[in-house]
Symmetry: C2
Subunit: 193 residues, 2 copies
């Protein structure tokens, strides 16, 4: 069993509405050696992909993205969340509906930091319905760059966002894929379909 699966079983809490609380080690208090280990596994998976940039969305994925970027010796770039309606010409934007927060936001990346020669590895802490990844992919595409894949700490497999993106050809590497979860029954894991 993978380290992050053990952490989820030991410290994760399931709440109604498909909420998995992992804020003791992933997205509030952070277990840094765990993140370093996840970064190492992601690096090994995408090692041969000539990655030139790591892209995430603020905030919880930033440490994993940064530690992964360190292994690839490339810059890390984090998209910003904005509620603003008017954006400057100097940015790429994508509208995203957030599963977690039930709202819509715009992700923003300066055009300066992505270009057509970039091979971009996406990183995020969670993958649920896949909207955040789709937003990031839209931005990479707008820059004329290539998305080589997505490294994810925890995928909520029962929400199918990851499966759909895999069917469309995205190489997603999730460190843990949750097959089912329930406040009484707990969490089960599965592999990628």
């Amino acid at each position: 069993m993978r380290l992050i699966e053990e952490k989820i079983l030991k410290y994760g809490k399931v709440y109604p509405g498909n909420v998995l609380k992992v804020d003791s080690f992933l997205n509030h208090q952070v277990d840094v050696p765990l993140i370093a280990a996840l970064a190492q596994e992601i690096y090994q998976h995408y090692n041969s992909c000539a990655v030139t940039k790591i892209l995430t969305i603020e905030a919880s994925g930033i440490l994993l993205a940064g530690m992964t970027a360190q292994l690839f010796h490339v810059p890390m770039l984090f998209a910003k969340k904005s509620a603003a309606k008017n954006m400057s010409d100097g940015v790429y934007t994508a509208k995203v509906r957030s599963f977690t927060h039930g709202n819509e936001y715009t992700m923003v990346v300066s055009k300066e930091y992505l270009n057509k020669d970039d091979k971009v590895l996406l990183i995020d802490d969670f993958l649920a319905d896949g909207n955040a990844l789709r937003g990031l992919m839209e931005i990479v595409k707008a820059a004329g760059a290539v998305t080589v894949g997505a490294g994810i700490a925890i995928e909520k497999g029962f929400q199918q966002g990851g499966d759909k993106l895999r069917e469309e050809g995205l190489d997603i590497f999730s460190l843990a894929i949750i097959g089912s979860m329930d406040a009484q029954e707990g969490v089960t894991f599965r592999s990628a379909m």
Copy 2:
């Protein structure tokens, strides 16, 4: 000259309203080896302080905080920004006025992750008027814990937030302190007063 001072002189841009744009290496695109070097310097400064926890506020300080926590072998905790008016009993909160964004927000930390035995090192990417640090200190105090100091990437020395906090006894270690900045004249650095 310190590495981050060189980066600021080479890549930083000064805009009206005391805005220093460093988003090519610090808070949008991130130069990870630079952050690792800053973390190392912060670690050396506070090495003897028996730090048990690193605390920052999302989002730009998260990588520096995480890399510093890795050196101390302690967890990293990032306060969340919330616009919500009603908070649960399970959290510490502090209201903060943001210089950068000109708005007010509430920072939130779960009570579970800070306790009276903690010796907390604060980390942030910027220190201007000091309001974010004061908010974090308020939360540490509410937990009955001790703030051992604050490691900062860039301090806007001309805004005096850092000097006031030093006068009040806080050990602030800033990797770069900007003495003056101007769109025409550029940036000058100074040491801590």
